[in-house]
Amino acid sequence: MLRDKRSEYLTALILVGPFVVIYGVLFVWPTIQMALLSFTKAPLIGPGEWVGWDNYVKILSHKLFHSAFWNTAYFVLLTVIPNTLVSLAIALAVNRLKGWQQGFVLACFFLPYILPVSVVFLTWNWIIDVQYGLVQYVVRLFNGGQPLSLTRTIPLFMPSVAFVTIWWTLGFNVLLFIAGLRSISPEIYEAASLDSAGRWRQFTRITWPLIWPVTALVLTIQLIAQLKIFDQVYLFSIGGRQDATIVLVQYVYKLAFQQNKGGEAATAAMLLFGMIIILSVLQYQLLRARGQK
């Protein structure tokens, strides 16, 4: 019996060992390091000096941090709600179709989601290119015959990135909604149509209430994901006025890799980390409330 226990521990050690090493070195240790680094005045690589909360005071009053925060919040707002509504509409439409039609339509909407971000944004850079871009035909109609750079015109920058991001990530939300729609039993709809409830009534009385938990999930997953954006904004703003459209991860990147301020970069990262933790806890509460119902 004792030998059994010992061999079980040994097996566990062998199976869990690699995991513990990987996560210890690449997750736990960097997280602790980040927390410590955020209290020091240090270059990216090299020794630093302990400065307590100084970095936090400095970053929180830093104008660029405020820009980064509001730009990120603006981006989240521009993407999350439209993305959710559009993907719900698409999911409802796809769910009506059958056989090859469903497969084809779903593939069209989903294909962008699995492409690398740089492929997506290079493609769109070409489509909206100020000289030769396809979109400029439409732009000229509304802009007195003049082309318009959507990525260098600051007020249009975030909406453009948001639009492309929605196009790119729609497929994921559509899938979640379809999973949700499929879990509604057909009998409910049959009963409803016997009571001669119309489509709209069926949607508002049956589909919407039953799909609401999925909607909450879709909303919070996106909220957390979009807080972490960097790639899209970076890829769209190459050559643009980066500071005007800076987002949080880009701010961390700038401090660390362009200004060599390791300590301050860690502080900014900690602040981002804090925001995401708060949102994750909220999400957990929300979904747990759903589970209890």
Binding site: F19, I90, P112, P116, V119, L122, Y132, F230, F257, G262
Partner: protein, 293 residues
């Protein structure tokens, strides 16, 4: 026909008419859905078609939907004048190694967490859950410092290591291993099979589909990742494809035909994986979303 049957017939006819009316509505809805799907697919089509147009046609602004003449010059150009072949090898090697390591270490770890009793089990599970909350984007600074200390920047190992943190794979595996009836394991243990044998002969084969799904999304994720390879590989010789293609320029500045050719080449592997394993990909996405919920 009895007197009371008449109203029923009238009602049935009326419902028949309404069904036909809905059918027309349904047809319109289907057409709209198809139009939207094609519109969503269009940017991908446009990238592909641009890549096979001769340069003169790309910059003439003709915007025709079909090339006047098919030309593979852009592909030949990027093959001859960029390091795309090397980037490809970098991407393939790193993505395949990441996938293999993540799957093997996660399957073992999940089996231990699910079936073995050992000290520290709860702590490890909580660690994995915590890992969800910490955004990897917040750890870039420390991963960079760590990799610099190990002298792993601009190496395959440096690109691979931080990407081994994919907690979702362990959690999905654990859920599936938990649901395997205990009798299987006990019967095997009666035949004095060890845990490794049980894992490789029973638990993994029983969940072969799950492994396939998880491996596919891990591969797609690794192939597509941008931020970390972008930081870890600054030399052209160590870049991955998604990072490398953002460097494609020539003496005349941005050349879209060539950029689109490189974008097509970069997106091809994941597009093929998706088109071949469509059902597995969507299954994997739903599984991972289930964990996030």
């Amino acid at each position: 026909m009895s007197a009371e049957a008449l109203p029923r017939v009238a009602e049935a006819t009326e419902r028949g008419n309404r069904d036909r009316a809905i059918d027309i509505g349904g047809l319109i809805l289907t057409l709209i859905t198809f139009a939207a799907a094609l519109a969503a697919f269009f940017p991908i089509y446009w990238a592909i078609i641009t890549s096979v147009k001769p340069d003169s046609e790309v910059i003439s602004g003709s915007n025709s939907l079909w090339p006047g003449r098919f030309s593979f010059d852009s592909y030949i150009h990027i093959w001859n004048n960029t390091n795309i072949a090397i980037w490809y090898v970098n991407s393939m090697v790193t993505s395949l190694i990441i996938t293999a390591l993540v799957i093997v270490s996660s399957a073992g770890c999940a089996y231990a967490l699910s079936q073995l009793d050992f000290p520290g089990r709860r702590v490890i599970y909580v660690l994995i859950l915590a890992c969800f909350m910490v955004p990897m984007q917040a750890l870039i600074v420390n991963h960079f410092v760590l990799m610099a200390q190990f002298k792993l920047l601009n190496t395959w190992a440096g690109i691979i290591l931080p990407q081994l943190i994919v907690p979702v794979v362990i959690i999905v595996y654990k859920q599936f291993f938990d649901s395997v009836p205990k009798e299987f394991r006990e019967a095997a243990q009666m035949d004095s099979a060890g845990h490794f044998k049980i894992l490789f002969r029973i638990y993994l084969p029983m969940n072969w589909g799950v492994t396939a799904a998880l491996a596919i999304i891990t591969f797609i994720g690794a192939w597509n990742s941008f931020l970390w390879p972008f930081l870890a590989a600054t030399g052209e010789a160590t870049m991955t494809v998604p990072v490398g293609i953002t460097q494609v320029k020539d003496a005349y500045g941005i050349v879209y035909g060539k950029l689109m050719a490189s974008a097509v080449v970069a997106g091809l592997p994941v597009a093929i994986v998706y088109l071949v394993f469509q059902r597995r990909v969507t299954q994997a996405i739903m599984l991972s979303a289930g964990v996030k919920g």
